[in-house]
Symmetry: C2
Subunit: 308 residues, 2 copies
């Protein structure tokens, strides 16, 4: 029997990598030959977490069907965010906390989605439901995922359940969540070794709404202006991507992790919906988004609604 691959989304973030490792661990304890993989490069924040808790990066697998006939998806369900050949394998399970769209199966499956801030919060429940103990290092990874997705518990996506899970996990991992979390977020916001191309794809997700295709990239920063000062160069790359992928809209969001605000650069033939959608002015292709830190809760639904 070949391994069952456990994978997060393309352009993986800390939740995608850490939930893949954690859930594969749980499935192995339950007797399934599960292996975590990643669909792309881990970012600096994730690398910090992996190194801190002494894990190797999961193996990079770009086409899953050559490796396995069955997979488990964590932290995503939309097929355009998954492996390019996802339709060629059987999806055994999904554990996710996003909206459901562009997902279809032939057979019934185990699908567990909950409107919480992080996949790892659901995975902690699954450990408990199966009566499996969370090892200290796995707890550290799951805590890292919650800190990452919630921007250290400050995002509006963060629920009481995420907070409670983080408290339990910090205790098992024996770390101070606030101190460890700030160090991890700062490692992720260190953009010094990143090219502009890197920034564009580091954490970028594609969506569809009403037959329109749009993409939203998000980078965390300590100094937002350092990124925005290179807007002209960024726009060249953004326009290239829009043309290559035939996008109707591309938003590049820079989030200030210390002050919890964002600035977005918006381009594409549907960029004119942004002012109405966010009820604010777009000046020089740029819009200020005070208090906006969550792509999932504060950006995607607003754009989806405006495009519909």
């Amino acid at each position: 029997m070949s391994n069952v691959l456990v994978l997060g989304h393309k352009n993986p973030d800390t939740d995608s990598i850490c939930s893949a490792i954690s859930y594969a661990y749980l499935k192995k304890q339950l007797g399934m030959p599960a292996e975590p993989i990643r669909l792309g490069e881990a970012n600096n924040e994730t690398l910090y977490a992996l190194e801190y808790f002494k894990f190797e990066q999961p193996r990079l697998v770009e086409k899953v069907a050559a490796e396995a006939s069955q997979v488990i998806l964590v932290d995503h369900n939309e097929r355009q965010q998954s492996a390019a050949d996802i339709q060629d394998v059987q999806i055994l399970e999904v554990v996710d906390h996003h909206r459901i769209a562009n997902f279809e199966t032939v057979d019934p499956l185990y699908f567990r989605a909950e409107p919480v801030g992080c996949t790892a919060t659901i995975i902690l429940k699954l450990f408990k439901e199966h009566g499996v103990e969370v090892p200290s290092d796995i707890a550290g990874l799951m805590l890292s995922a919650i800190i990452s997705d919630s921007l250290l518990f400050k995002s509006p996506t963060c629920t009481e359940q995420d907070l409670q899970a983080a408290r339990e996990l910090a205790e098992i991992a024996n770390v101070d969540a606030a101190q460890y979390g700030l160090a991890m977020l700062k490692a992720g916001a260190d953009l010094s070794n990143k090219t502009l191309e890197d920034l564009m794809s580091l954490d970028s997700k594609e969506f569809e709404a009403n037959d329109h295709r749009f993409e939203v990239a998000q980078v965390n920063a300590i100094d937002v202006n350092e990124v925005i000062s290179r807007q002209k160069e960024l726009e060249v790359l953004m326009n290239e991507k829009i043309a290559r992928k035939n996008l109707d809209l591309f938003a590049f969001v820079v989030t200030d992790i210390l002050n919890n605000d964002s600035v977005a650069i918006v381009l594409g033939r549907k960029a004119d919906i942004i002012e109405g959608a966010f009820k604010s002015s777009v000046v020089d292709n740029r819009i200020l988004l005070p208090g906006v830190v969550s792509r999932k809760k504060q950006i995607i639904p607003v754009i989806t609604e405006a495009l519909s």
Copy 2:
């Protein structure tokens, strides 16, 4: 705050009605103003279960948006099986045991699907996870749903989890599952007060595969030949439905609940796929399906595969 409507699929079966009542009860215990409804007439089997455990039928609601802004789906997720105006309301939760298709939301939601034989089996888990006791009469309804979906535990869809749930529920409801179950199935297989039009829509579900639309109706019978003897009249009605709904394929399946076999009448421009799909001859638009009792596990995947 208006009620949150809890609904099963169109042409409701015993699981759709009983899971709607049971889950609405659980949500009410948890503080949500939930109300079970039904999208169509309950069948004889369901009426038997409701009467036995002294429940009224849920209210018939054909358009949900006029009544509520939020709904919970049980026992289905595909939009063509749901309320006609389902896209006008927010789907708060889904609890289901079918494949996932034609389902999309703007926001994250609670989505719990498991590959078990019956929605009620999952709902029993949810009672336990929330620490809510299952009342005796509600247990009776949930047991009825499992017996119905599993044809008294004989369908290949029936899992060890369904069996275990049925054992627990029979004890709470204080009934003998085998004896009660056979009486309930026989009540459902009593077709004497049904017109041919009734048989066509009693338990009929529409599906899509590779841009083809197909529908599979299923009726349980004690005497299959009693139904098949009226094939010519049935075919007239089937062809009318195919034309009206522009179906590529319509299969009318009669299942022998005592011997666990089925016979299907198949019509439509794609009916020629049936022989290859089921590796058996179609004679006079009719095919014998020995050992086939489960639409979900033994019919839909086979047709979907053949159409793809």
